[in-house]
């Protein structure tokens, strides 16, 4: 039930519409999503979407750092095995 899916904001439909909507691309599937909870969202940013509402942005910098940290552990393990 608490499933939320990441999607890329492609178009903000109408700046003054209520509720404020955006077109969000989920790996090729485009859906209209309400963006009232993230007023400062920009085209090209990723959002987590739940029941038609964007709940938050996905922080690309944090995501990269997390994956990098895991890869660094992998590197250490590989070196140990050599």
């Amino acid at each position: 039930m608490c499933l939320a899916i990441p999607g890329k904001v492609e178009k903000i439909i109408e700046e003054k519409s209520s509720p404020r909507m955006a077109e969000v691309n989920f790996d090729g599937v485009i859906r209209q999503v309400c963006i009232d909870f993230i007023p400062d969202i920009k085209i090209g940013e990723y959002v987590m979407v739940h029941v038609g509402y964007a709940l938050n942005k996905v922080d690309e910098k944090e995501a990269k750092e997390q994956l990098k940290a895991i890869s660094e552990v992998e590197e250490i393990i590989r070196k140990k095995m050599k």
Binding site: M1, P6, S18, D36, M48, D59, I70, S71
Partner: protein, 368 residues
């Protein structure tokens, strides 16, 4: 899919599994609170990869599963009224009530519709002015901002035919109830990442301090879950009890303030009955009096429902982590996803359905 595929990567899973195995842990119980996390654990068979002394306990974090039976009975009564289009999220349709379900009501001719978003229900109300549109609002803090926003949109559109049946619940009081219970000893928690997307992580830090228990705010992919387990187990080993945020790419300390404001603009905290857990003080959300024109319970006569649960079902014990689904005599025989007896067999995030769909027959037979 970006932000999903990277977190399902087999090499990264292997690194984290090796890291967890290197910890040399005593036997510990870690509860994943959220049903979506349970689903991932079973789908990817993560329990099999973990050291056998880590016991994962599946928590009550499936809003479909914890909706009390009297709310289902009320929903069926509302759906049976004249000129009503009854709407809800998909899983709710198949939850058995005392005598019927929304799906059976639909089969007998009632207009019951599955919707993707509460905004769909508002648009139905706009497009069908001569019908009463009733939306069955369930959910935790992840879903309640959207439910609240739909009421605000209905008001903005001056709709007089949109109603909400609210059975919404809050996660922190349920987590505290489980931690207060003497029936089960939890050593660590994986907090629900999408609830925390809205609420932030301060309530987790408070629980960590109050109950001296480590918590990892955790995402929903295999890499997230394993990293959450690692971050929790590592603390258990050295008697630390902090809240750490594994799901930083989405969750911030303060959460989404705009979403929180929207929830409490429309709803107020109330006591709420949870299926399997009983009434928990201040664990629910009801519609504020300012918005009573949208409250189905205040506008229709449905409050004298008498409900009866199937006594053979052990959903209550499963939702508290006291028993596993395959401890139930009905599991896989009299209770299946096609013909469910209890709610956790209906929702794909319910522990029973996840066990039924993903656990091998061999494993279940071994446990019998």
């Amino acid at each position: 899919m970006k932000f999903l595929d990277e977190y399902r990567d087999a090499d990264k899973v292997k690194i984290l599994i090796d890291q967890i195995h290197s910890l040399k842990l005593p036997p510990i119980n870690i509860m994943e609170v959220c049903g979506s996390q349970t689903h991932t654990i079973l789908k990817y068979n993560l329990e099999e990869l973990l050291p056998s002394n880590i016991n994962l306990i599946h928590g009550p974090g499936c809003p479909v599963c914890v909706t009390p039976i009297d709310m289902i009975d009320k929903a069926v009564l509302l759906a049976q009224m004249e000129d009503v289009i009854f709407t809800s999220y998909g899983d709710m349709l198949r939850i058995p009530g005392s005598k019927s379900s929304l799906m059976k009501a639909k089969a007998s001719g009632c207009d019951v519709r599955m919707i993707y978003s509460p905004l769909d229900a508002v648009m139905l109300a706009k497009d069908n002015p001569h019908k009463k549109i009733i939306f069955f609002a369930i959910g935790f803090e992840t879903t309640t901002p959207a439910n609240a926003a739909s009421v605000l949109t209905a008001r903005k559109l001056n709709l007089t035919n949109f109603y909400m049946l609210s059975s919404q619940v809050l996660i922190p009081p349920a987590v505290k109830l489980l931690l207060d219970s003497e029936l089960i000893k939890l050593n660590g928690l994986l907090a629900p990442g999408h609830v925390c997307t809205v609420t932030g992580t301060n309530w987790c830090s408070e629980i960590s301090n109050e109950y001296k228990i480590p918590i990892a705010v955790t995402g929903f992919e295999p890499v997230d879950i394993l990293e959450g387990i690692f971050l929790t187990a590592k603390q258990i080993l050295i008697n630390q009890y902090n809240t750490v945020n594994q799901y930083k790419r989405v969750v911030t300390k303060d959460g989404n303030l705009k979403a929180q404001e929207t929830i409490y603009n429309v709803f107020e905290v109330c006591n709420r009955n949870w299926r399997g857990l009983g009434e928990i003080k201040n664990s629910g959300l009801r519609i504020r009096d300012d918005f009573r024109q949208f409250d189905a319970e205040k506008n229709f006569e449905i409050n004298s429902v008498t409900s009866n649960e199937d006594q053979r079902c052990i959903a209550g014990e499963i939702l508290q982590g006291l028993k596993k689904p395959n401890d139930c005599g009905l599991f896989g025989k009299d209770c299946t996803p096609i013909k469910p007896v209890g709610a956790p067999m209906v929702s794909s995030e319910g522990a029973c359905a996840a066990y039924y769909n993903y656990r091998s027959v061999l494993k279940i037979t071994e446990n019998e």
